[in-house]
């Protein structure tokens, strides 16, 4: 069980890494600790929906590009309900 929750945290960080690079783990840790009030490693699927809402708010403060925000949120939502993955933003194409 512990291994599954840890894996979810890691997958959330991995997805976030595409958008926030080296700041990803710190960003997720902050969101989980400040808004879910849990240790990041204990993150589970039930927390994910609330976490995604907070991440949407936080990332909207970093960019006005709602398309990228929605794309990021979609990637996170797929972690909660795994489905075949379509085209993933690689973090480079817009640079």
């Amino acid at each position: 069980m512990a291994r599954t929750t840890e894996s979810l945290y890691e997958r959330v960080v991995q997805t976030t890494h595409i958008y926030l690079g080296p700041a990803a783990d710190r960003f997720i840790d902050r969101q989980v600790q400040n808004h879910i009030h849990k240790e990041p490693s204990t993150l589970n699927e039930a927390d994910l929906i609330l976490l995604i809402d907070w991440i949407r708010v936080a990332v909207s403060l970093l960019t006005d590009d709602s398309e990228i925000v929605e794309e990021y949120i979609l990637q996170l939502e797929r972690l909660a309900h795994p489905k075949p993955i379509g085209k993933v933003h690689d973090g480079y194409s817009q640079l």
Binding site: I18, P22, L61, L62
Partner: protein, 309 residues
Amino acid sequence: MSIRVYQQLSTQTKALLWASIWSIGYLILVVTLPANVTTMRQYHLSPEGFRILEILTGLPNIMVWFMSFYGYAALTEYTEKVSNSREGKSFASIARGLKWLAWGLPISACASAILGAVAWLNPGSVASALIASHYIYLIISLVAFTFISDGTRGLREIINRLPSKKSIRALIAGAIIISVTYCSITLNIVDSQHPNAYRLPLWLILLTIIIPYLYAWLMGFFAVFEISQYRRSVRGLFYKQALRLLASGTTCAIVASVALQYLTSSSLNLRHIDLNWTLIISYGIIITFAVGYILIAVGAGKLKKIEEV
């Protein structure tokens, strides 16, 4: 009490306070000290004309000091946020180097004003004043570029990527062109004037001026290469956007700083150039320097925001 108040100020407020102190100090020096005879002779200026020129060139310089102090302080504030991360130490080292470059501007301007006045009051000390001003600038440059280079090396180690063959060849070619051109210009100055502009024997010029300057500049250019390599290799859409500003700003600051040092260390060559052209070149360089620090401040601000939301 006042120390406690100072300690409570933010890093950016402290930096701007220091910029204000330097600016006031510099203006007092310009107004009160006797005019620099060498420059007056060089451009055929009266003491009043020289003073007006000093203030006219000094005011834009002071604006650049404020921008550069603001820029390095913004980066320092970001590094305080990420001090425990892998890249934190590297960015802190770059911020320290940029701080030295920023502080180098008012330090060298004030030192130059004081030494110019000393040379006017005591003509026998012209040589000592010239030597001291050359070494002050050189020491600042060496320390600044060593910190920046340490920082960018740390960033390159994080991405663990070796430079490509093409980029190594380009770096070697660039290093040779800069070194040969600078040596040629400096030796030409030394050879054409008696006593020479540095008031030092040739071997001492070679060992303590030419080699250290080239060492510092090449470290600076390699740092530019390393930070751009880190920017290209690191992931993160928003992180990269902010980092691009920071890397471009650091590049502008380093290139402008090297150009300024190049110009200052071979300033006697400018005798052949019209005063207007000298001012245009100088302003071009300091504007590049200021733009660099503005980009650093904006980039560091964006990176800091990522760490705060």
